[in-house]
Amino acid sequence: MAHPPENDEDEGGRGVSRRTFLKTAGVGAAASSLAGVAIPAAGATVLGPGAAPLTLKVNGAARTVNVEPRVTLLRALRNHLDLTGAKEICDRGACGGCTVLLDGEPIASCLMLAADAEGHEITTVEGLGTPDAMSPVQAAFVEADALQCGFCTPGFVVSSTALLRKNANPSLEEVKDGLAGNICRCGTYSRVFEAVQKAAKASARPAAKRG
């Protein structure tokens, strides 16, 4: 088996083919660590099954993590970078609790390997605002009480943010569509819709002034 790159600077020779391989290796690694069998694709370099360093661009900063290739983006963020806003709730893309932005698009980070996220811009809920400087969406969630236990809330905040970036003034039906991938068990949907529409209005005001 070939060795993983020694450090972050070793970008040469990595690229599509390596990432393509990692998709295979990541899935195979879980089995290979037990069964000792991994069949690499032709021409691929092998990473793992042990931990290997990866560089993730998270909330504007490059962060290095040393993870097994099978580790998901969600677990890399949570267990290796202490960015615990995104939650592992269903671990199969059904609940939206792990939603982060990948190059601006909302994705289920439990369904992506950390290695596949290399080279992309990742934004987590922590990158959207802070308790003392909340984003308009975050502030609207608090004001409308669009949360109860709050465990699903980071996922809803990220999905809502992505929705408003595409559609600055969504109708109620469009909000429902935009949040269709997120589950809340305490039952906050109607207040989430209210918060998203409030945030849309709040963001529209300065634009209107400029106009």
Binding site: E88, I89, C90, D91, C95, L179, I183, C186
Partner: protein
């Protein structure tokens, strides 16, 4: 529903209170413990309480900074993982952990002493390893050999004479004096409300009698944060971070299970991702995972984090029992009931407690003749746990569907039939409020009379709950610091209800501050004792203690302000950050300026609640109205609107109270239309242990939710608060089912109301 305790005998003081609803005030006397305060009542001028305060922890939750148990990590921490039985019944012959132990990175292994398996998902073994991935590998390497036995997972099959026995007859859980046969225990003596009169005579007197059977499947709680803990030992001292509804329950449970003193156990729950009743046990109803985590941590000499996964959460952390309910109602021509016979069978899996008779015992109080019979049926499935008003949504669905059927038979307005039998003055007010909000007059006079294939209709149903409070043994502490900052301490946990914010509002009310001026400290067993969050009792048990502590601090501060204001402390009041002479508010001094006069660094006031007072009413009334659209070609039901009208005493924070009511309506609609735990009858395992085929309501299914609080000066404690988390889910299922009938003429008696059942009921309606 726990924590009802007989109040200890304490010296009392009598207060005269203007209680009840503003439209119909009742003067009553309450007996408070000496030193306790007069309840806030209809005459109280409240500045903060009953307002709308966004939750104080909101900014941490929306930015991902709130640390739940699931989010906590610490240096050297190991990851625990349970191994669960793959078979539903039998004996464990061998647990071979040798391969798991040999895996690099595995630091501790635990195996269960129990050898009898009664459900798929029972605790068998556990591992702790250096990463979650290695722990998962190790768990898969544990080899368990079973001698499998026959089993039964289906409620009705378990009732058969020849069904495989879940327990040997002498091992069935439950009181020995209750009849038992096969897997069936009962009839059990009725709970609250009970039986009364003579139903045989009542049915003989009836002009019409209906009898129908209704059924509800098992639901799982499915909190989004799964059950889990982090256990850390420092010498004899154990700290447990727990996703729990009862930090003190976990403290006591760990101490007992591990044979250590309670004072050596500290439990912390700063933020908690939902429980709905499943997190009231020290570990969980069907797993001892928290105790196992403590043992693994001890064995490994390192902190262990053990969170269950979604699959486990469905199997062993509790569920709401299934129910098969037969309701017989006799009525006179005018709709007054002459008798109600309520008989239910239900399965809480391997546990008891499947009763659903609560609503029958409490609703329609003018009915003179009532008989309730409840039975537990044991099946090879994970044990139930209380789920949001245990048994009540199910029981109310059956009872309130039957009431609707009586009205239909008599050709009467279903709301009028309920008025006829109503004993609660509060619900009589709610009928008018709810009917107006939904536009009751818009309903079909003849079910299904709307034009076209997509038909709309409106239905309603009642619900009930109880004022449950821990009257004593609940404390709170309020501190005012020299710099004027204020904080309070309560060991009780905020499970997402907004408890921590509500308590800050109570402190702010007493001290004349804004809620944002008060720092909450909750969810830590080192702080004053509070109840487990069950029975809708947290706010109304803790708020009175918080108010007492805040009042004590207030009087200490007033004593510092009084000389400068030329008045006596008892003549002062506080508002807007100022302390002033009540009779001449112009004479005032700033709160902060007064705090700076204290002799030390802090004024600390600790208070303990001594007893619950008499209450305006012991029941909490509620009713709901639903509007639905039924596609009579496909059978698909869409909920358009639900109006909930509920009594919760005085709502401390109207904003978060409404959120709880909205959430209950959502969970209720979810049960009515989708949720259904499916066990494979051939292999005994769960078919849908996830969040996509265990379908819960999501954005696209969302309806217009209208929460209406009927404010009642309850007088049961010094804040007049009661509970809200549970009562507001009780009526929803029945309201939706009755609306489906009004829309389409389809009477669906089995939940969830799926398209196939709607089409079958429509065919049935056409035949008759």
């Amino acid at each position: 529903m726990a924590q009802e305790q007989k109040p200890p005998e304490v010296p009392t003081v009598t207060y005269t209170v203007k209680a009840g609803h503003a439209s119909n005030p009742q003067t009553m006397e309450v007996h408070a413990a000496q030193g306790d305060l007069k309840p806030w009542d209809l005459d109280s001028k409240l500045r903060v309480v009953k307002g709308r305060q966004p939750r104080l922890d909101g900014k941490y939750k929306v930015t991902g900074r709130a640390k739940y148990t699931f989010d906590i990590s610490m240096p050297g921490m190991l990851w625990g993982r349970m191994v669960r039985s793959a078979v539903p019944a039998g004996q464990i012959l061998k647990i071979d952990t040798s391969k798991a132990e040999a895996l690099p990175g595995v630091k501790a292994v635990w195996t269960s002493d129990a050898r009898t398996v009664r459900f798929a998902g029972q605790d068998v073994a556990a591992v702790a390893a250096v990463s979650p991935e290695v722990a998962e590998d190790a768990a898969r390497l544990v080899q368990v050999t079973y001698d499998e036995a026959s089993f039964v997972t289906d409620l009705e099959k378990a009732m058969a004479d020849d069904a495989p026995l879940v327990y040997e007859p002498d091992k069935i859980p439950g009181p020995k004096d209750i009849p038992r046969k096969g897997n069936v225990l009962g009839p059990k003596p009725p709970g609250r409300g009970g039986s009364r009169g003579d139903v045989d005579k009542g049915f003989a007197d009836a002009a019409v009698t209906i009898q129908q059977t209704y059924s509800v499947p098992t639901h799982t709680h499915s909190p989004l944060e799964t059950h889990g803990v982090i256990a850390k030992w420092e010498g004899d001292q154990l700290t447990v971070w727990a996703s729990t509804q009862g930090v003190f329950t976990v403290r006591d449970g760990m101490a007992e299970a591990l044979g250590i003193d309670r004072k050596n156990v500290n439990v912390i729950t700063e933020h908690m991702g939902g429980g709905f009743g499943s997190k009231l046990a020290p570990s969980a109803s069907g797993s001892a995972f928290a105790v196992v985590a403590c043992k693994l941590a001890k064995q490994a000499g390192a902190p262990v984090k053990l969170m269950l996964d979604r699959h486990e959460e469905h199997l062993c952390t509790g569920n709401a029992p299934s129910a098969l309910m037969t309701v017989k109602i006799g009525a006179a021509r005018d709709g007054s009931f002459t008798a109600v016979h309520y008989r239910s069978f239900g399965s809480a899996g391997i546990a008891g407690g499947a009763g659903t008779g609560g609503p029958a015992g409490s609703l329609h109080g003018k009915n003179p003749n009532l008989k309730i019979e409840e039975h537990d049926v044991f099946t090879n499935a994970g044990p139930a746990a209380p789920l949001r008003a245990p048994g009540h949504p199910q029981g109310a669905f059956a009872l309130e569907s039957a009431v609707d059927e009586v009205a239909d038979r008599l050709g009467l307005d279903p709301l009028e039939v309920r008025r006829k039998n109503e004993a609660s003055p509060v619900r009589l007010i709610q009928y008018d409020v709810g009917a107006k909000a939904i536009g009751w007059e818009r309903r079909n006079k003849k079910p299904g009379e709307g034009a076209g294939p997509r038909k709309r209709g409106i239905g309603m149903a009642n619900g009930n709950w109880y004022v449950i409070a821990r009257g004593s043994g609940v404390g709170a502490e309020v501190r005012i610091h020299r710099d004027g900052s204020v904080e309070y301490f309560s060991g009780a946990q905020d499970i997402g209800t907004g408890f921590r914010t509500a308590m800050a509002m109570v402190v702010a009310e007493e001290l004349g501050l804004k809620p944002t001026d008060v720092k909450p400290n909750v969810g830590d067993s080192r702080w004053p004792e509070g109840p487990g969050s069950g029975g809708s009792n947290t706010t109304n048990s803790v708020a009175p203690a918080v108010r007492l502590a805040a009042h004590d601090a207030r009087m200490k501060l007033f004593a510092l302000a009084a000389p400068g204001l030329g008045a006596k402390a008892e003549d002062l009041d506080a508002a807007d950050g100022k302390i002033f002479v009540a009779a001449s508010p112009g004479k005032s001094v700033a709160f902060k300026q007064t705090a700076a006069k204290m002799s030390g660094e802090v004024i600390a006031a600790v208070a303990e609640r001594k007893k619950q007072f008499e209450t305006y009413r012991q029941d909490l009334a509620g009713c709901q109205f639903a509007e639905v659209e039924v596609d009579t070609q496909t059978g698909v039901v869409r909920v358009i609107k639900v109006v909930a009208v509920n009594d919760c005493g005085f709502p401390i924070n109207l904003l978060t109270t409404e959120s709880q009511i909205i959430g209950a309506m959502i969970q209720g609609v979810s049960w009515a239309l989708w949720e259904n735990r499916v066990l494979d009858r051939n292999v005994g395992t769960m078919v849908n242990p996830n969040l996509e085929s265990y379908k819960v309501l999501s954005s696209k299914d969302m309806f217009e939710a209208v929460p209406i609080v009927t404010e009642i000066a309850n007088a049961g404690n010094n804040t007049s608060a009661a509970g809200i988390g549970e009562p507001c889910i009780v009526p929803t299922l029945g309201a939706v089912a009755n609306a489906v009938f009004n829309a389409s003429g389809a009477r669906v008696r089995t939940l969830p109301i799926t398209p196939d059942r709607v089409l079958a009921a429509l065919a049935e309606a056409r035949r008759s």
